[in-house]
């Protein structure tokens, strides 16, 4: 039942938000809704009983589909991330004002409902429905409230991901047609016997959709523009949570259903991911816009996660699982700082910033913390995940690991360069007027800092939550 609530709360409150007219009503309403969802996410992660964690209702039976939601270890960690993220986003941007707030917040909640659905769906067709439900509100949010070039950029993003989704739909239909049980249920799809050719074709039909969503090189071209042009709260959701849809898709749908094809194409995918990591890191070095820099750094991080999944071993997958959560909150932390700078100074260009440490010491410290977490410094949460993923990659092929390792060095270079340019050096006429973070931003960043340090020192809870899923995937894959 908790599984249903996780999807239902944002859906219903999102629909109601559209009807709220008064100034801050929609804002407060969506904050309350997100807190309720967070509460249920925590409860769902704690309560391991089957009744709490799964929900089944008959729906579109004639099509072989059903409304089945269930929370496994990976689902729990992603549900938590989604719950935490929206609270972080809403509180940290609480003072921002938007035109048509009721529509804005309504769409934000609907996208959360879609995301929850994607992470919980255990039925192919239902998964597809949620996949699109998460996308449509984001399209409207970015097109309506984004930067100057928002319309064409968001459109490119939409078409890109929609093409991927449609190809996945054909794949799903084939898989369904090949399933003697005539069902979209995940467990039934796991049992479908596919020959090598079928696996190879279906693998690409699914993988392209997920690769575009993550995105990995060379499917990434929509991403830097979209991150740059979207309103920051949408960028937070996109980069913190939505990219995880692609990773989850690969782990839950591709690896177990097409094991032979995964084995067949592992070198291609890992090769693409690793090349993408180095490429994105190099491009990040050249960026002047903070949002674009973080966008490229995200391509590098996600590339590592994708490569680790395809190494299909205990270390790699375990690393990905914890990183699903850690990457999400770290990148949202970075966005909060960037949003604070942009809201106050009206620019995100590193060349126009500098010397803010004196006027905004808290911002400076927290930016350093977020940056260090982003480069996976030991004792920060990202370290253990990256360590395990590199370890997994090492067991797969040492050369891949060595080449991918370049991105660590490059990551440190561009991140520290960013820190130096933004908060140190001489202040200019623009940054002299900088004031420190607002209380709500401080609160959220402090929360993230605690999570960074706690999971950096003691990542056990994240491991425990997900190790069953890791074992299950490896068992299924073998």
């Amino acid at each position: 039942m908790l599984a249903l609530l996780l999807f239902l709360i944002p859906l219903v409150t999102g629909c109601i938000a559209f009807l709220l007219k008064q100034g801050n009503a929609a804002k407060i309403w969506s904050l309350l809704s997100s807190l309720a969802t967070l509460g249920v996410s925590v409860a769902a992660a704690m309560d391991k009983s089957a009744t709490a964690r799964s929900f089944h209702a008959s729906w579109l039976q004639g099509l072989g589909a059903s409304f089945t939601l269930s929370i496994d270890g990976m689902g729990a960690i992603l549900v938590l991330l989604t719950g935490v993220s929206l609270v972080l986003v809403l509180v940290s941007t609480y003072r921002n004002t938007y035109k048509n707030p009721s529509v804005y917040y309504g769409l934000l909640l609907l996208s959360q409902a879609g995301l929850m659905g994607v992470f919980l769906a255990m039925d192919g067709l239902l998964f597809y429905f949620f996949w699109e439900l998460a996308l449509i509100p984001v399209y409207f949010l970015s097109s309506g409230w984004g930067g100057e070039r928002r319309i064409q950029v968001t459109f490119k993003f939409f078409i890109y991901t929609f093409v991927g989704s449609l190809i996945m739909l054909v794949g799903l239909l084939y898989l369904y047609a090949l399933n003697p049980q005539a069902s979209f249920a995940l467990e039934s799809l796991y049992k479908v016997k596919l020959n090598a050719d079928q696996q190879d074709i279906l693998f690409w039909m699914f993988f392209v959709a997920f690769a575009i969503k993550m995105p990995i090189w060379p499917f990434h071209t929509w991403q830097p523009d979209t991150y740059e042009q979207s309103p920051t709260s949408v960028t937070m959701i996109l980069s913190g949570v939505m990219v995880k849809m692609g990773l989850l898709g690969v782990i839950r749908w591709v690896v177990p259903i097409f094991p032979e094809a995964v084995h067949h194409f592992e070198n291609v995918v890992i090769g693409l991911s690793v090349v993408g990591m180095v490429y994105a890191s190099l491009v990040a070095l050249r960026q002047d816009d903070l949002k674009r820099m973080v966008a490229y750094s995200s391509i590098a991080h996600i590339g590592l996660m994708c490569a680790a999944i395809f190494s299909v071993n205990q270390e790699g997958l375990q690393g990905v699982m914890v990183q699903l959560f850690n990457h999400g909150i770290n990148i949202i932390g970075l966005w909060i700082v960037i949003d604070a700078i942009e809201q106050k100074l009206g620019t995100r260009k590193m060349s126009e910033l500098g010397g803010m440490a004196a006027n905004a010491p808290v911002l400076a410290i927290l930016l350093v913390v977020m940056s260090l977490a982003n480069v996976a410094l030991p004792l920060t949460n990202a370290f253990i995940g990256e360590f395990l993923m590199f370890n997994g990659l090492y067991h797969f092929n040492v050369w891949y690991m060595a080449f991918a390792g370049l991105s660590i060095i490059l990551g440190a270079v561009y991140t520290l360069r960013m820190v130096q340019k933004v908060i140190y050096g001489k202040e200019n006429s623009l940054t002299a007027a900088m004031t420190d973070l607002t209380i709500n931003q401080k609160l959220m960043l402090a929360g993230i800092t605690i999570l960074i340090i706690v999971f950096g020192v003691y990542p056990d809870p994240l491991f425990k939550m997900t190790q069953d899923t890791v074992h299950a995937i490896i068992a299924q894959h073998i």
Binding site: L60, S143, F155, A177
Partner: protein
Amino acid sequence: MNVLILSTIWGIVMMFSGLVFKKGGYATYLAIAGALVLLLGSIGDVSNVVITHSTFGGMLSFDGFTELFLSVILVATLFYFLLSGREIEAVGNGGFDYYALIFFVITGITLSASYNNLLMLFLGIEILSIPLYILTGSDKKNLKSNEASLKYFLMGSFITGVMLLGITLIYGDTGSFNLGPAASPFGMMAASLPVLSKVGLLLLMFAMAFKVSAAPFHFWTPDVYDGAPTVFSSFMATIVKAGGFIAFLRLFGDGYANTQYSWGSAMLVLIVLTLLIGNLTAVFQQSAKRMMAYSSIAQAGFMLMAVYSHNTEATDGFLVYTASYCLATVGVFATLSKVKDHAYEGFNGLAKKEPLLALTTAICLLSLAGIPLTGGFLGKYYMLYALIKSGQGPYMLVFAVLCAAVSVYYYFRLIQAMYFKEGNPATAPVSTGLKVGMVGLTVLIILLGIMPYDLLINWKLFF
């Protein structure tokens, strides 16, 4: 059977009502009443309350699928009258005669949906077409409308000749006008179809492709839709097109299904061309009305898949596709008729000026684009699945979905104009009735996407 009789009677009633009610204003009410009577007649068919059981010597057959299809058509017609009634009256002086023509078109559709004999098909298609030639030219003082009408009439007449030739060749070969393997010798000669019949079937296919504006026989469509008064373009692009398709479906998906080896490849070529040409040309249109004309060609590509596949999924899907397509297109055209400038820029800022109209239109467009949770998605889903079931490989399907992705481009251009661009579009006053109609229509589209079985497909069990 009820629908056939009632639509003819109501057409005549409408025709003579023009003499009784000199002043306009009543025509729409009478037409809505007519649509309701026809719908009741259709429900009467379900409960076996029929005016007559005659099937004209087996030349017509009303099975569950046909009855259900006719009900769908009638619901769409009802919405069409509700949303566009005032425009129909505005085109004509009172509009009685135009409504009469529309009811005659429905008679033609009923025949096209129930024929069991090639002569009945011919009659049905002609009864459906001739009123359309007149409706296209109904804006008498508009040169574009006159030109479109003449163009449509000349080409339509030519294609009628092609159709007759096809029928003649088949008759010459088989000695029968009857359809289906049981009645025609086709059943026995399925393995080797004589050349005459093959050519006859191909000619019939071309004629039907013309009627449903499938490429490369689509060239009349944009000019005719653009020249005809918007309100009649809407009728042609939806209800009439569905009528053409049901005739197509009966002919190839039902009657000559067992000879697919001789026409299947030609049909696949039609599907590919229709999807490609319809979508690509729609992308380059600057007018939303012409875009809708080309997009209706593109949608025909998907509907042709049902004709090709002829399995349960195809017939179920055809119902869902027709229903959602007709409703969504009627909705978009209702908005088109309210906006004065049909260029995309003419819609800039509509969401601010008419939020409800923009929202409902956006949902219609989302359905046409095939976004999940709308009937349009399930329609496309069924068509693709039917094609897989018929043994088509993945390449054809990937091609089809890529075309569907292209369609997102032009449908979303309209959404972008309404929601994300600044402007103050010139619009005619939007009545509360229209708003209520649009809301009802979009609710149906969403319900079709969420519960197609309860709303539509399961009804087949009752027939």
